[in-house]
């Protein structure tokens, strides 16, 4: 399956991906309006600190997804392609998925009491964070494509 891959060396921690993600998951899809929406739109990608270096990270779509195993309500499930997804209707906000995610890639939307994570922009073309990244640190594609791209970057 196509995934978002991160070329860590290119990440400059500008957080443009975070903004693009929050706007994409807002009601208005317009930055000026989105920042005033209540409840606040939530980004599903976060620029974190990976051993002193910045790293933009979102759901890795693990094959062995601890979040799915930990979910007691069945909200976190695998779709037909085997990718972990959240059914927001069934989420009870227990945050167990957040506890077990090895990447810290699940966000708690406290106002709505649901867990949120990357949905690859519902697979409608290239995810916005990838489009938005000004340095090309985020790539969207098959694993082999990423390996090739990474060699070029190096």
């Amino acid at each position: 399956m196509k995934r978002i891959y991160v070329a860590a060396a290119r990440c400059t921690a500008c957080r443009t991906c975070e903004i693009a993600c929050a706007v994409e998951h807002s009601l208005s899809r317009n930055l000026s309006l989105a920042i005033a929406e209540e409840p606040r739109p939530v980004a599903r990608v976060r620029v974190g600190n990976a051993g002193g270096r910045p790293l933009a990270l979102q759901c890795r779509f693990c094959e062995d997804s601890p979040c799915v195993d930990a979910c007691k309500s069945g909200a976190m499930h695998r779709d037909d392609a085997g990718a972990p997804q959240i059914d927001r209707e069934r989420c009870v906000g227990c945050w167990m998925c957040i506890m077990v995610c090895p990447f810290g890639a699940i966000e708690a939307d406290r106002s709505r009491k649901v867990a949120l994570k990357c949905d690859l922009c519902a697979a409608a073309g290239t995810p916005v964070c990838v489009e938005a990244c000004p340095t090309g640190a985020l790539l969207y594609g098959e694993r082999e494509e990423f390996v090739t791209a990474l060699e070029e970057i190096r």
């Binding site: 975070e18 903004i19 929050a22 706007v23 930055l31 000026s32 920042i35 980004a43 489009e131």
Partner: protein, 640 residues
């Protein structure tokens, strides 16, 4: 997004597509997506502990490392923009004052006092004792009195403002302590760990801006009139079609009138014309871009090739031998395009040089010589022009420019001297709903000229007389709105009656962007004429910059608001990240000066807000509604 609504610009872009160097639009596309933190004004790079960003989707109460919150950060960034804009205008004013001083002492080769009558009038306002002095010694005193406004108060031109406004300024502490001093103070104030109160910071912005509008910009306008002559209504042409296929094309670009005045004069001299003929050209064609061009247009009727976003396109026509630039709004991208053609780009200001570009420094004492040298270089390039690469669109448009406070109504009503009575009467009767100043830049993030045209068309249809300057005026000139006959097609019935009776265009061109000070003065005259309240904020007037781009525009917007004018400003000046800052600018200011901002992006909605504002002011003054209000509205339904 469509790049431009200007047919000539579109033709040049289409012809260049695929095989020409990148233009501002290509580079703008490459900038997408813009950084959201920067766009919202909530990235602070002031101290070296940062950059600190406030997450606009994060919880409230976030702080930068020093403890500054989102309001402080947005307000400080905003103030720095205002200070930079005010600095640009005011430094331009300083240079004009310097040229006047040198001209008065006979040290500025070729410059002399062109309007001694205006000089005497200004001297009186500045409290300079004319005492039977000849123009030159008087000019020296006036220049010094103007230069004295930079380090310290008072700014005597502020006395032009209605008493009610002056009282508001004093009460709110908005009296500038000197032009330079306010700018320096703004930089101090925004330094790490100084002013934290966003209201206090924003008020400082208003004070800096007032020092620009009623100081630096105003003295630039007045002294330019003294030095280069006061404009009077004059016919000319606009758009890229003013470039000539068989003549040497010299494009003047930037903002200052001094060198371009000399270049234009040199290009008329027999010796150089003969030199051009020897090189195979039929003549020497001087035209321009941005405000340098407008200074030449207003006083001598030289044609305008385009506005800010047309600058690269003028070179892409392959027909420009030489572009001479001074300061402000000169895109660095010009150098790359000039390199692809036979065009020579020449910088002239010690403040504005470009790597690899010819620099011929403008020295006032040798102004005539420098201008000759520049024209000669242009002629030398003419034989290198490649006919097969010349692509001049045939679009040109007639226009009338050259209006000033002194002359705008001097031909009105058949009276001997200038009076604003006919304008006031037209507003009072409701033939005119009000007056709008549509001004400002172009911006690659907005479809070129679309904002100016859509807004102006809408206002005209609703019987609003539109006053313009700068790139906005050029946009409307290209569309034909600056022709008196334009009133027949696009103006509402009341406005058309006025235009036809007086023979003025429905859109009045009042000059360059420093000449927005003329608009301030005109509004003071309207108040003084009587019958429309005691203050500028009482008048049924509004302002707008629908395609704002530069920091100068931010400063202009602020001095308009600080002078009591409702001002629609788009795109917003990077303050949206702070609700409090936005709130203060869009409503808090109204309690202080009666003016306020609106950051409405849609030009038609912006125009509707301006019209609603005028109607509210009419009601407050006890005036009847616009005479043909309903009829006009029906004739011009809001599009989209």
């Amino acid at each position: 997004m469509r790049r431009t609504v200007d047919r000539a610009a579109e033709k040049v872009l289409d012809a260049a597509a695929g095989h020409a160097p990148a233009t501002v639009w290509d580079r703008s596309d490459a900038m997408e997506p813009r950084c959201g933190f920067g766009d919202l004004g909530i990235c602070c790079t002031i101290c070296l502990q940062g950059p600190c960003r406030i997450d606009p989707f994060g919880p409230p109460g976030q702080k930068g490392c020093c403890g500054a919150d989102v309001d402080t950060i947005a307000a400080r960034n905003f103030l720095r923009a205002v200070a930079a804009g005010a600095a640009a205008h005011s430094d331009h004013g300083r240079d004009i004052a310097g040229t006047l001083l040198h001209a008065a002492k006979g040290e500025a080769g070729g410059f002399r006092i062109a309007d001694p009558v205006k000089l005497a009038a200004i001297a009186k306002e500045l409290g300079v004792d004319a005492g039977g002095l000849a123009p030159e010694p008087l000019a020296e005193k006036v220049a010094l009195a103007c230069l004295d406004q930079f380090p310290r108060a008072p700014l005597p031109f502020m006395n032009r403002a209605p008493e009610a406004l002056r009282k508001k300024w004093t009460k709110a502490g908005l009296r500038p302590k000197g032009i330079d001093r306010e700018i320096v103070e703004a930089l101090h104030r925004t330094h790490e760990g100084v002013d934290v109160d966003y209201r206090n910071i924003l008020l400082s912005g208003m004070r800096v801006a007032l020092a620009d509008g009623w100081g630096g910009s105003m003295l630039a306008t007045e002294l330019s009139d003294v030095l280069f002559g006061s404009p009077s209504p004059i016919r000319s042409k606009a758009n890229l079609g003013v470039l000539k296929a068989d003549e040497v094309n010299i494009v003047v670009h930037g903002h200052e009138p001094a060198l371009s005045d000399m270049v234009a004069r040199a290009a008329r001299e027999g010796e150089l014309l003969e030199y051009a003929r020897q090189r195979g050209a039929r003549g020497i064609n001087v035209c321009g871009l941005c405000c340098t061009s407008i200074e030449l247009l207003m006083r001598q009727g030289y044609p305008v090739a385009g506005n800010f976003l047309s600058q690269e396109l003028s070179l892409l026509t392959g027909s420009v031998e030489l572009m001479v630039v001074d300061v402000q709004c000169v895109m660095p991208g010009l150098a790359d395009i000039a390199n692809c053609f036979h065009t020579e780009l020449v910088t002239t200001s010690p403040k504005a040089r470009m790597p690899g570009v010819t620099h011929i420094e403008f020295d006032e004492s040798k102004a005539r010589l420098t201008a000759h040298q520049i024209v000669r270089r242009a002629v030398d390039r003419f034989p290198q022009r490649r006919r097969d690469r010349v692509n001049i669109p045939d679009e040109t448009m007639d226009l009338v420019a050259g209006f000033t406070v002194e002359n705008i109504f001097s031909n009105l009503g058949g009276t001997f001297r200038s009076t604003f009575r006919p304008l006031n009467d037209a507003i009072i009767s409701g033939r005119l709903r009000g007056v709008a100043a549509v001004i400002g830049c172009n911006n690659a993030r907005v479809t070129h000229d679309e904002g100016h045209l859509a807004m102006t068309r809408e206002l005209l249809a609703r019987d609003v007389l539109v006053i313009q300057t700068g790139c906005s005026a050029t946009a409307c000139a290209k569309e034909g709105f600056l022709r008196p006959e334009a009133a027949i097609g696009i103006a509402g019935r009341g406005l058309r009656e006025i235009c036809e009776a007086v023979g003025i265009p429905p859109v009045i061109h009042m000059g360059s962007c420093v000449d927005n000070s003329r608009i301030l003065r005109a509004l003071c005259e309207v108040v003084r004429e009587g019958g429309l309240g005691e203050d500028i904020s009482d008048l049924p007037v509004a302002a707008a910059a629908p395609e704002a781009m530069s920091e100068k525009a931010v400063s202009i917007g602020c001095y308009a608001v600080a002078s009591g004018i409702f001002t629609v400003f788009s795109p917003p000046p990077r303050v949206e990240g702070s609700r409090n800052v936005c709130e203060f600018l869009t409503s808090g200011m109204e309690e202080i000066t009666g003016g306020r901002f609106s950051f409405e992006r849609d030009p038609l909605k912006g125009a509707a807000e301006m019209v609603a504002h005028m109607d509210a002011k009419r009601t407050a003054l006890g005036l009847p509604p616009a005479m043909y209000g309903a009829e006009t509205a029906a004739a011009a339904p809001v599009e989209g």
